[in-house]
Symmetry: C2
Subunit: 512 residues, 2 copies
């Protein structure tokens, strides 16, 4: 079946098994791999490569790769490679448990990069020369163009820059994807850059296909396998409360005349809270909405289906099994469905500061913790331990019209407060955080000096169990700190995290 | 003399003394004031206003203002107002000693904002309605256009948005400024934004004049006073060493083919180190250079004069007394001098992320401290005490082609290390810092995972007196931290700052 997806004979002649393709990739290779948010990653070559690496290691030979991706992939990519100790350096994002464990054990180098920066930094040569691209596509047209899969990510860059290209043609991806992509071929390095001509979130400025030099294609591997589905939990009470607060905030902005009923293009992270917010928007008082975001998750498909949202731009899908089936059925049978409403772009465009600022996105991102002054930690547990990565949150938060960060006020058993005196790692500075929302309420920090921000955050966002301790810290900081602009008691600022590491809870932080 | 600068009779009829103009501004007013880096701030009305406020306070009446500026102004603006307790809220930047002291005493609210964000946030209404604009101009044309002074800053926004306008016409500013400005009138709020059509650093896309509705002008005040001159110290040995390292880095980039001999548009902060770097570039191996920066300081005039730099774009001058005289003489007498080579723009354009990223600036900014993982603190001494503000460093660092942060490795008496285990405040995250330079050397952090960054920073940038203690911290962090991606010993991460507050030095940090 996959053979039918290869309509250009030049490519058909290079079909080979995954093992043979993997054999073309040696120790020390820098590999650019497709995949973003579990969508469109290669399904066969990475496992074959992992076997090859394990064999080499068994023979006592060194074998490791530098792996560049779009964002998170699937366990049968970075997970399987990490498990064999086959990755020297991974960038720019990860969410695989095996990979994460190895990084946090200090066994693997990982680089956490703004997703909009990756392509340009590789073009600039900051990561060295790219040897091989391994890219999943949904098909190859008669004139040798590549039909992108369920994510675009950095694929254009990998195909342009790599010396050699390995394509996986996945017949499991719906043929109806054709026409949904918009691959912009107008990027350049300075001093040769021009404005990116997007002025509306659904604008198409590029090609529906990826281009590549056929001579660089050293292998074509046929697959028929689904993407890793994303597991979305049922919205719990706290996610619903957060979603309610976000809608209240948006309603407030509309009442003040700062937003119209169509709002502005929405950017939403992934996860249960984000899903709850998007769900709450469905059938709500706003619309028709648009999205200029990184991924299209279940709830966004819902918004498109109901007509609450008229168009959505992203670089990848991030769907549950049911939503994958819905998407596939829709784009296979309907002419006026998702295909007309969805644009998938390279991630340097979906996340581009220029475009995000121009469109004036409403950025809604999750976080690990926020401090009383509005600094946000998106990446590190207790300062040291990487969770996933910054992803595109910085691209959007810095350039958004309205930048919202959301989390529950505590972890599920209330043992850890997500509102702390000082975050243990900063990904988004006080300058980039407009609003913090927890199930407790909204802290609107716009226009507030640090001490006023602290009162908002403690009063409106902290969990009642931790509110007094935070107030106590804050008041003592005002009394004791030599500088009273952003008062801290530095000897105590991180004791909440120290307690959490020592006791598993922040409850007894003051029982020192 | 100043009368001759007012060539439109509608404005001439509103000339009045500064006291009369100040009398039009009441308690609780939000005032947008001109001024950036000590250039182009109003010289007379703020002092008159301060007297009015002091009188009111003496009578037991409340009187305070919200003051929005471009960036730093002069002591006879925010300093004199702050001294009378006349400012409720100041934003987005300050460098005045009186102002700073009041902020750090907790007596005044200050908001530290990315300079490119200010105009749009005020347009968006995040700071409330703007009541009055007080703007210095160099003259008024026969058809009522305003000839900007030595800074543009946020003046366009203040003039557009304020209900009432007070103009100071300063005959002390050289008439030759006419024609150097480029005020872009194409900005809008989303969803009505279009690409900013700058593709080269010297492009002119706007008007040489500021526009205003004459009916809104309630007062015109005549002045004849110089800008606050900036004091530049003599380059000391450590600044020269830093400058040498920066040139070495640039040379390295050229050799690797990542930059041409013309480099890319330079952004440089203010201060002795920045001045030393620009000085070193003069007559060096690169050119012709361009600048797309925030301010034009003495050394940049030098580069323009020598021909090493062909054009410079900024939003303000920031000059010593001698350089002010040089500028004045040049633009008064020469047709082919600075006037043709300098463009002064609104700060939302000089610092615009879209343009900075498109042009691919080389961003060179100072810092207070950096940590071993490459996070940078630009604003707070020991976490609590504001120094000046983030200014435009975030606008440039995040979007630059190459983002360099520079400082001496210690304070002048070596008592405080500027390389620390964890910065006490984060303004630029690990994601936005490419290279750290001290007089000790260069830490090129591009493409390095956190632990590799730490080794670079400790080995190449830390002062020898502190290197062992930093290595000791780092090695123990690797051993002890539960997460080994960015290993920290949280109980110790800020003890260096605690020691500095307690002992005035970090030398004895390990003698706990």
């Amino acid at each position: 079946m996959a053979e039918g997806r290869i309509q250009d004979r030049r490519f058909a002649s290079r079909v080979m098994p995954a093992d043979a393709a993997a054999a073309l990739i040696g120790d020390g290779t820098r590999v650019g791999v497709s995949g973003f948010a579990g969508a469109g990653y290669p399904k066969a070559v990475p496992s074959a490569l992992a076997r090859r690496i394990a064999d080499a290691h068994e023979r006592g030979e060194a074998f490791a790769l530098s792996v560049f991706t779009g964002a998170s992939t699937g366990p049968d990519l970075d997970g399987v490679l990490a498990a064999t100790d086959g990755i020297d350096l991974l960038m720019p994002y990860q969410s695989d448990p095996v990979t994460r464990a190895r990084i946090n054990a200090g066994q693997m180098d990982y680089l956490d990069v703004h997703l909009s920066h990756v392509a340009q930094m590789v073009w600039e040569g900051f990561f060295g020369h790219l040897d091989v691209a391994v890219v999943e596509v949904a098909g190859i047209t008669p004139d040798g163009h590549l039909m992108p899969s369920t994510s675009v990510g950095n694929n254009k860059t990998w195909l342009d820059l790599a010396d050699r290209i390995v394509l996986e043609v996945n017949a499991g991806q719906p043929a109806g994807l054709e026409g949904m992509h918009d691959v912009y071929y107008g990027t350049a390095l300075p001093p040769h850059r021009w404005p990116i001509p997007i002025v509306g979130p659904a604008d198409r400025i590029g090609s529906p296909y990826l281009h590549c030099t056929p001579d660089k294609v050293v292998a074509v591997v046929l697959t028929d396998a689904p993407d890793r589905p994303t597991a979305y939990g049922v919205a719990d009470e706290r996610s619903s409360l957060i979603a309610g607060h976000v809608l209240e905030l948006l309603e407030h902005e509309v009442r003040r005349g700062r937003l119209g009923r169509q709002l502005l293009p929405i950017q939403s992270g992934v996860g249960n809270i984000a899903n709850a917010v998007l769900g709450e928007l469905d059938g709500g008082p706003f619309g028709p909405l648009t999205a200029y975001s990184e991924v299209i998750q279940d709830a966004m498909l819902g918004l498109l289906r109901s007509g609450t949202m008229s168009s959505a731009s992203a670089t990848a899908f991030c769907l549950s099994e049911g939503a994958i089936a819905d998407l596939t059925a829709d784009i296979t049978t309907r002419a006026d469905g998702y295909r007309e409403k969805i644009v998938l772009r390279p991630q340097e465009i979906s996340n581009h500061p220029e475009v995000v600022r121009r469109l004036g996105c409403i950025a809604m991102n999750g976080m690990i913790e926020a401090d009383i002054y509005g600094n946000v930690n998106s990446t590190h547990v207790a300062g040291s331990q990487i969770l996933n990565g910054i992803g595109g949150s910085g691209d959007f938060a810095r350039n958004a019209y309205l930048s919202i960060f959301m989390a529950t006020s505590t972890t599920h058993d209330d043992a850890i407060s997500r509102i702390v005196p000082m975050v243990s790692h900063v990904d988004h500075t006080e300058h980039d955080v407009h609003v913090v929302v927890t199930e407790q309420g909204i802290a609107d920090l716009r226009g507030l000096s640090p001490k006023k921000r602290a009162r908002q955050v403690i009063e409106h966002c902290a969990h009642p169990d931790y509110r007094d301790a935070l107030s106590d810290y804050f008041e003592r900081a005002i009394a004791q700190a030599p500088g009273k602009h952003t008062p801290h008691v530095l000897a105590e600022a991180l004791t909440w995290h120290v307690a959490s590491l020592r006791d598993g809870t922040m409850r007894d932080v003051n029982a020192r």
